[in-house]
C-alpha cells in the first residue's frame, strides 16, 4: 500500500516525502527504485495544517479546528528520511547507499515484517535479542555480542533512563553464552542481580601490588602534600612489599625516618609523623579494603561468569587505583593468552582467562574523565585501542558523556544512547559517533525510559529500540523516599512501644 511519495530535492542519503499519515520517528520505510528496493529510516516527521496557518488568536484556532475536520486535504504530513541502503544488501549485513538518489515522485511503502526481521532479527549465532523495535513492536531487536567484545560498547543516558537495565541485560545474555563479564559496580547496583552464573566479589586492594603513588592515593594522602608523599615513597621499599608483616614493616620504615639523626631526614620528620598517623589510621579505616594478605585479586574473577566487582566501598581515588590495577592485569592476561594461542612460540604459561572478556566500567566520567589523567583512564584507553586484538572488550557507561574522554569514547564501535537532554552531551555523542545522523541525535530528548538509539557495529543498522526490562535486576530502581520514611516512622513507634513494655516499674527510681 502506498504510504507517500518522494518530493523536493533527493540525495543518495536523504529524501523528503509527503505521506498519507504522520510517520513516527524511527519508523522504517521502503523506497522503490530501478536498482532495487531501498530501506529508509524516518528521522524527522512534521505535520502542518492549512487551516491553522496564520492563525493569530484563540478564537481563530478554535474555528480552525472545525474547518480542519471538513477538509481532508488540510493536513500535510512530511517525513525526512535517511537512506540506509539497498534492502537486499542489508539482509546480508551490508549497507550500500544508492549511487543515484531516488527520483522525486517515487512511491514509498511500508516494509514487510519479513523485510525487517531479516535485518533486525538475524537468525545467526552471536545475535541476541535485547528488546523490540520501538516503532515496529512485533520485530525483535537483536544485537551482535561478538562485535561488542571485539569493538567495545558505549552506553550513554541520563540517570534513570535504563542504563543499568541494559548493562544487566547484556550481562545476562553473555552469561547465558557462558562468556566472561566483569562489571565494576560503583553504586552497588548489580550485587543483587539474580541471574545464573553470577559471581559477586567485594573489590579489595592488595597494597603490596601498588607503586608508591598508587599507595598514596589509596591511603588518601592529599595531592598537595608532596613531602608526605616523599616520606611514603622512601618508606615503601621492596622489603616492605615482600615482608610477611606488611603494615608493621611499613611503619618501621616510617619510624626509621622519624628517629633518624640524618639532618636531611630531620627536615621531613613532622611530615613523617603525619604519614605514621595516616598508615595507622588506614589499617583501621580500610581494614576491609586494603588486604596485604589477599591472593591475586584477579584470581577471584571467574571465567565464564558474570562477575560483579563491588567497588562501592572504595573512595573515588581507591576505586581508580583498583580499576587501573584490574584493567592492567586483565589486559596483560589476555595479551599473554592470545600471544600463546596465536604466536609461534609455545611457551608454557598460566593464564586466568582463556577466552574473551568483556569489562564494563560504570560512571565512566569518573574513571575516564575528559579534563585530567588518571591511571584508570590510561588503562581503559589502552584497552580501547588494543583490546580488540586480544579479545578484551570494554563497555563504558555514563550519564555525562560530555565529561568522558573523547579519545576513549570514539573508540567505542557500538553505542546504545538513551534519553539525553544536555546539548553538550549530544554534541559529544555526535563527535564520538560519526555514523549517527544529527537528526537521530536530536530525537534523544524525546525518548522514554528504556528507549534507545542503537548505532554501530552491534546492529545491522541504526535503530530505535525499546529495551526489554530485566526482571532479575532488583536494585537500581529509584528509591521511594515516601515509603522509606513511612517505614522508618513505623519502626520508631514499635521501638518506643516495646521498650516501654520491657521496663520493670518496680526498678524505677522515684
Amino acid at each position: 500500500m502506498s504510504l507517500g511519495f518522494v518530493i523536493g530535492e533527493s540525495k543518495p542519503t536523504f529524501v523528503t516525502a509527503i505521506t498519507s499519515r504522520a510517520l513516527s520517528v524511527g519508523e522504517y520505510i521502503k523506497i522503490s527504485s530501478d536498482e532495487g528496493e531501498i530501506l529508509g529510516l524516518v528521522e524527522r516527521s512534521a505535520v502542518s495544517s492549512a487551516a491553522f496557518t496564520d492563525v493569530k488568536n484563540f478564537d481563530e484556532a478554535s474555528e480552525s479546528t472545525e474547518i480542519a475536520e471538513l477538509n481532508k486535504r488540510d493536513k500535510t504530513f512530511t517525513a525526512h528520511i535517511g537512506i540506509l541502503g539497498f534492502l537486499e544488501n542489508l539482509r546480508r549485513g551490508q549497507s550500500i547507499i544508492p549511487a543515484i538518489p531516488p527520483i522525486p515522485g517515487t512511491e514509498i511503502t511500508l516494509p514487510t515484517k519479513q523485510d525487517l526481521e531479516e535485518i533486525f532479527s538475524p537468525k545467526k549465532e552471536g545475535w541476541v535479542s535485547i528488546g523490540n523495535l520501538l516503532r515496529n513492536k512485533s520485530i525483535d531487536a537483536k544485537v551482535n555480542l561478538d562485535k561488542i567484545v571485539s569493538r567495545h560498547l558505549g552506553i550513554l543516558a541520563m540517570t534513570g533512563m535504563g542504563k543499568s537495565n541494559l548493562v544487566s541485560l547484556v550481562t545476562k545474555q553473555i552469561s547465558k553464552l557462558k562468556g566472561t563479564v566483569i562489571i565494576f559496580d560503583y553504586h552497588n547496583d548489580y550485587t543483587s542481580l539474580n541471574i545464573p552464573r553470577i559471581n559477586v566479589i567485594d573489590a579489595k586492594i592488595n597494597p603490596r601490588l601498588l607503586d608508591s603513588e598508587q599507595l598514596s592515593d589509596v591511603l588518601e594522602i592529599r595531592e598537595s602534600a608532596t613531602v608526605q608523599q616523599r616520606v611514603l615513597r622512601m618508606a615503601f621499599t621492596e622489603n616492605v612489599k615482600k615482608s610477611s608483616e606488611f603494615w608493621k614493616k611499613l611503619e618501621s620504615e616510617v619510624d626509621f625516618i622519624i628517629n633518624s639523626d640524618d639532618n636531611k631526614l630531620k627536615e621531613i620528620r613532622s611530615s613523617a609523623y603525619r604519614v605514621q598517623d595516616i598508615v595507622e589510621d588506614a589499617q583501621r579505616r580500610f581494614e576491609d579494603i586494603l588486604d596485604p594478605d589477599m591472593g591475586d585479586p584477579i584470581s577471584f574473577i571467574k571465567e565464564g561468569c558474570a562477575n560483579v566487582l563491588n567497588i562501592s566501598e572504595l573512595s573515588e581515588k581507591q576505586a581508580n587505583v583498583a580499576l587501573a590495577f584490574y584493567l592492567q592485569q586483565l589486559l596483560k592476561d589476555r595479551k599473554d593468552a592470545s600471544i600463546a594461542q596465536h604466536g609461534k612460540t609455545k611457551r608454557e604459561r598460566n593464564f586466568k582467562f582463556n577466552s574473551p572478556v568483556f569489562v564494563i566500567i560504570e560512571e565512566a566520567h569518573v574513571f575516564i574523565p575528559k579534563d585530567h589523567d588518571t591511571s584508570a583512564k590510561y588503562w581503559a584507553a589502552k584497552i580501547a585501542r588494543e583490546g580488540r586484538k586480544f579479545g578484551l572488550g570494554l563497555g563504558i557507561v555514563s550519564q555525562r558523556p560530555r565529561s568522558v574522554d573523547l579519545n576513549v569514547l570514539s573508540q567505542m564501535g557500538s553505542f546504545a544512547i538513551m534519553k539525553i537532554i544536555q546539548e553538550d552531551d549530544q554534541r559529544q555523542i555526535a563527535s564520538a559517533t560519526e555514523s549517527t545522523s544529527r537528526e537521530l541525535i536530536s530525537q534523544l530528548t524525546s525518548l522514554n525510559v528504556g528507549d534507545a538509539v542503537l548505532v554501530g557495529q552491534w546492529s545491522n543498522l541504526p535503530s530505535l529500540v525499546h529495551v526489554e526490562e530485566v526482571k532479575e535486576k532488583i536494585m537500581g530502581a529509584d528509591q521511594s523516599a515516601i515509603n522509606a520514611w513511612a517505614k522508618a516512622d513505623k519502626m520508631k513507634g514499635i521501638a518506643v512501644e516495646s521498650t516501654q513494655g520491657l521496663v520493670q516499674k518496680d526498678l524505677l527510681l522515684d
Binding site: 492549512a50 492563525v55 493569530k56 478564537d59 480552525s64 472545525e66 474547518i67 477538509n71 481532508k72 486535504r73
Partner: protein, 263 residues
Amino acid sequence: MLSILKGPKFDQILQKARDNWIEFMPTKEEVVTAGIDSSFNNTKFQGIELWATTAVSVKSNGEILVDLHKSGLGSADDISSVASKMEIEACEKTVDEVDMVLMDGSLHSQLMTRQANLGSTIVRIMKKKDNVVFIAKTSNTKKQFEKLGSLAGDIFYYNHVTNNPGFSKIFVEKKYGSDKIISSTFVRLSDSTPIIKLEFLGDHHDESEIKSIMNKLYKTSVGGYPYALKLAHNNCKISDKELAKMVSLLGLSNEIGSREVLG
C-alpha cells in the same frame, strides 16, 4: 494624524454608521460553499514576456471543483483580464455544483473598472441561480458617507463604531444600469474580527437574506473570513519559483541570458 482622517464631520459620520449598523450574532448553518480566486504572474524574458494565469474553485472541504491554467510567451497586454475571464469561467462551472459561490474581490470593480466588457457574462452567470456573492477583505469605496464629507472609505467608519458581529444596512447602487444594480453590505461575522464587504447583483436582497448568508458564511469561517476563499487563494498562487519551473519546462533555461528569470 488621525484627526485629519476624521475630518470635521467625523462624529456625524460615526453616528450615521451607528444608525446603519444592525447587530446580529450569526449561528452556524450547514451549506456547501465554494471559493473562487485567480492569480497571475509574468516575467520579462529576452524581450518576450512569459506569463501565466490560474483560477481555481474550491469547496470548504478542500475539494477542487475547477482548476484552470493558462500561460504563454509574447506580450500580454493585460494578464489581469485573462485571469478575470478565467475566474468567471470557474464561477460558471461552479454555480450549479454548490449552494453558494464566493468570489474573491469586488463586483463593483469587476463590472465597472476591471473588466467592463465581461459585465454581461458575469451578470448572466450570477443571475442563473442567484447564489454568487462577492467578498472583499478591503474596500476603498466612499459611497455611503460621501455627502457628509467622509475622507476614509466606508469600511473605516463601520470598523470604528462597533466590535460586535452584525451588518450594515444594504446599500443599493443603481447608476450602472438596471441590469447591473449592485447591493452591498459590510459584515462582521464574529467579535472583533475585520469587517468584510459582501456584494450581490440586483436590488431584491433584504436583511433576512443577509442574516441567512451570514449564518452560512459563519459555519466555515476563520477569523471572520470564509475558509473556502482562503483555500482558493492558497491554491492559485503563481510564485516566481513556479515561473522559473515553467521556464525549465519550456526548455527556455538553455537559452543564453535566461538566468535572470531564475534569479
